[in-house]
């Protein structure tokens, strides 16, 4: 019984980060239709910037959230306003745009990694922050994991309320369902899609800040998180932000169960689930 609790709590702690990353990608992929292969690079940027700020200027990682979040938002917003809007307008069909945007995002991945490599080299970095043990029921965890989970859920909830309760949120939901029609109903579609892309980048950046407290960091760490985000987004259902949130926790728990038996198999298990899912139910758990 205690080991089951152990595994579930570990899964939830892992799932919080997955959920945040996936909600971010869900906005970019589900709404803005950009399968952003460079999503993980924003995570890497957030994490390494936090590392630099904490180790050189002694700035609290939680305060870094306030710096990194808006910065990544602006980068994401501008990227969509320039590159992806241009691709969207010049593409003859949505399918062509989807293909081109993957490739452009792949170019971005290289660009960002190239810059990061110049700044942070290929070394593995890390720091300790809030690493003292905390008891969760009968299970003991480092405090930073709990802080991470709390902030990840908090950011996702605030964003959910924003989507559900505000006028702009409604515009985003409309754009997710049908960008063409939303545009006809008076939604400034270019602005809304750019905002979604920016919010996606913000979540990736924030996830990076949170991750940096618990795990080691290096310049090519991004891709594995991108892949996890893609798996969760497909698991939750393309375009369903709530689905991505729930999917993150499901994948976290699955990962934690597999890790309990054999830690080396957790990534392979994710891919296996993903491939089976695509074959059996490509629309995901909450997809239409």
């Amino acid at each position: 019984m205690e080991t089951i609790l152990d595994v579930v709590v570990a899964g939830l702690l892992l799932g919080g980060i997955f959920a945040l990353i996936a909600v971010g990608l869900s906005l970019q992929y589900g709404v803005a239709r950009v399968l952003n292969i460079a999503h993980g690079e924003f995570i890497m940027l957030g994490a390494l910037v936090t590392w630099t700020l904490y180790t050189t200027l002694d700035i609290n990682p939680l305060i870094c959230l306030v710096i990194v979040g808006p910065a990544t938002f602006i980068i994401g917003f501008l990227l969509h306003r320039t590159l992806f809007t241009w691709l969207r307008i010049s593409a003859p069909s949505p399918a062509v745009f989807e293909g081109n945007s993957i490739l452009a995002a792949f170019g971005l991945l290289f660009l960002i990694q190239g810059i990061a490599f110049k700044i942070w080299t290929a070394d593995v970095h890390g720091y300790t922050y809030l690493a003292f043990p905390v008891n969760v029921g009968t299970v003991t965890f480092p405090a930073n994991r709990l802080v991470t989970l709390g902030f990840a859920v908090g950011i996702s909830l605030v964003f959910y309320l924003f989507l559900a309760r505000t006028r702009l949120g409604k515009a985003i939901r409309a754009a997710a369902q049908d960008p063409e029609t939303a545009g006809l109903m008076g939604v400034n579609i270019n602005r809304v899609l750019a905002l979604c892309f920016g919010f996606g980048a913000l979540m990736a950046g924030s996830a990076g800040v949170l991750l940096s407290m618990c795990y080691s960091l290096w310049t090519t760490m991004g891709l594995q998180y991108t892949v996890i985000a893609i798996i969760v987004v497909v698991l939750g259902g393309l375009g369903s932000i709530v689905g991505s949130f729930i999917g993150g926790f499901i994948l976290g728990i699955i990962g934690s169960i597999v890790s309990y038996f054999d830690p080396g198999l957790s990534m392979a298990a994710y891919y296996l689930i993903f491939i089976v899912l695509l074959l059996v139910r490509p629309t995901g758990i909450l997809g239409k």
């Binding site: 062509v96 490739l103 660009l111 993903f274 491939i275 695509l278 074959l279």
Partner: protein, 325 residues
């Protein structure tokens, strides 16, 4: 970059290619071993790109499984040609690698029949990572080995084998593209339902073509393996190998048969130059920059851009409207 359209009007291309092949065949006689090694790599990229474009160009299914097939080839070599002594002769190993990739291609093709668009791309990408992770786990917990070392093969032999595979692949690609299957594949890219209604055996054409392209990718992996000397699952199943052919093909332009060849040749040459130069540290930065610019400003690739410029020059700017059709 509409990867579904292709209009082939030129028939002198194979003649030129034969001429080029003759030049390539005698190449090791008049250049140093340095250029033989680099040309082998460039040929490998062109081969992967042409194989990729053979299926994904006309059909519109963006496959990211290249690294899986290439990796199967590398692994076949690694298992059959260990540094302790070759178990089978090299030509046989390459044939076996091709067959292994073909089988994987058939399996993937059959599994993914229902997947369209982005799901197909994501599935094939996931496949590469699944194989990679599974092998890492397998070697760590079951065989307790880490990495494999492959026998040394002479650079000139590697070059000639690569050239052989290259020529066979180009000829196959050319004839498939002009055959009934090629047209069927293009009609699938334009409208799969309509193609099925016209009597095209959609399933058969897709799966077989996909598997044929896998043969060349596997064979290329098998012959490139000895150059790597040391391999492990991360090296063999490198996701980059899946993306590079797509980028090269689109950089060249999918509108013409020779587009991917030109794109791959230029891109591979630049890549080799950059990595060998003092800008090696900036290699990723420059590569990424070229990519973003190419995708944003050359929707029909280099060949499309040149055609547009030629048209513009001939008609004095009145061709602008036609250029994007």
């Amino acid at each position: 970059m509409d990867i579904t359209t292709f209009k082939s009007r030129r028939f002198w291309v194979p003649g030129l290619l034969l001429l080029a092949s003759a030049a390539l065949a005698t190449l090791p006689l008049w250049v140093g071993s340095y250029w033989v090694v680099r040309l082998t790599a460039i040929l490998m990229y062109i081969l992967l790109t042409v194989s990729w474009a053979l299926f994904s160009g006309p059909s519109g299914y963006m496959s990211l499984a290249t690294a899986a097939f290439y990796g199967v080839g590398i692994y076949t070599s690694a298992i059959l040609l260990p540094s302790t002594g070759a178990l089978l002769p090299l030509p046989l190993v390459i044939v076996i690698a091709g067959l292994a990739s073909f089988s994987l291609g058939l399996l993937v093709g059959a599994l993914t029949l229902r997947l369209r668009g982005i799901y197909f791309a994501v599935f094939t990408f996931g496949l590469v990572l699944l194989i990679q992770r599974f092998l890492v786990w397998w070697e760590m917990t079951v065989t307790h080995t880490r990495g494999r070392i492959i026998i040394v093969v002479d650079d000139t032999i590697i070059y000639y084998v690569m050239l052989g595979i290259f020529v066979v692949a180009l000829l196959t690609a050319y004839f498939i593209r002009r055959s009934r299957s090629g047209l069927a594949l293009q009609s699938i890219g334009e409208n799969e339902e309509a193609a099925a209604h016209m009597g095209v055996n959609v399933t058969l054409v897709k799966v077989i073509t996909f598997a044929i392209t896998a043969v060349f990718m596997g064979a290329a992996g098998a012959i490139m393996a000895p150059k790597l000397i040391y391999i492990d699952p991360y090296i063999a199943f490198n996701p980059l190998i899946s993306f590079i052919p797509v980028l090269m093909a689109i950089f060249g332009g999918l509108g013409q048969f020779y587009g991917p060849i030109i794109g791959a040749a230029i891109f591979a040459y630049l890549q080799e130059e950059l990595q060998a130069s003092r800008f090696a540290d900036y290699y990723m930065l420059i590569f990424g920059g070229i990519l973003v610019v190419a995708i944003a400003f050359m929707p029909n690739g280099l060949v499309g851009l040149i055609q547009r410029l030629v048209q513009k020059w001939r008609k004095g700017g009145s061709a602008e409207q036609h250029a994007n059709t």
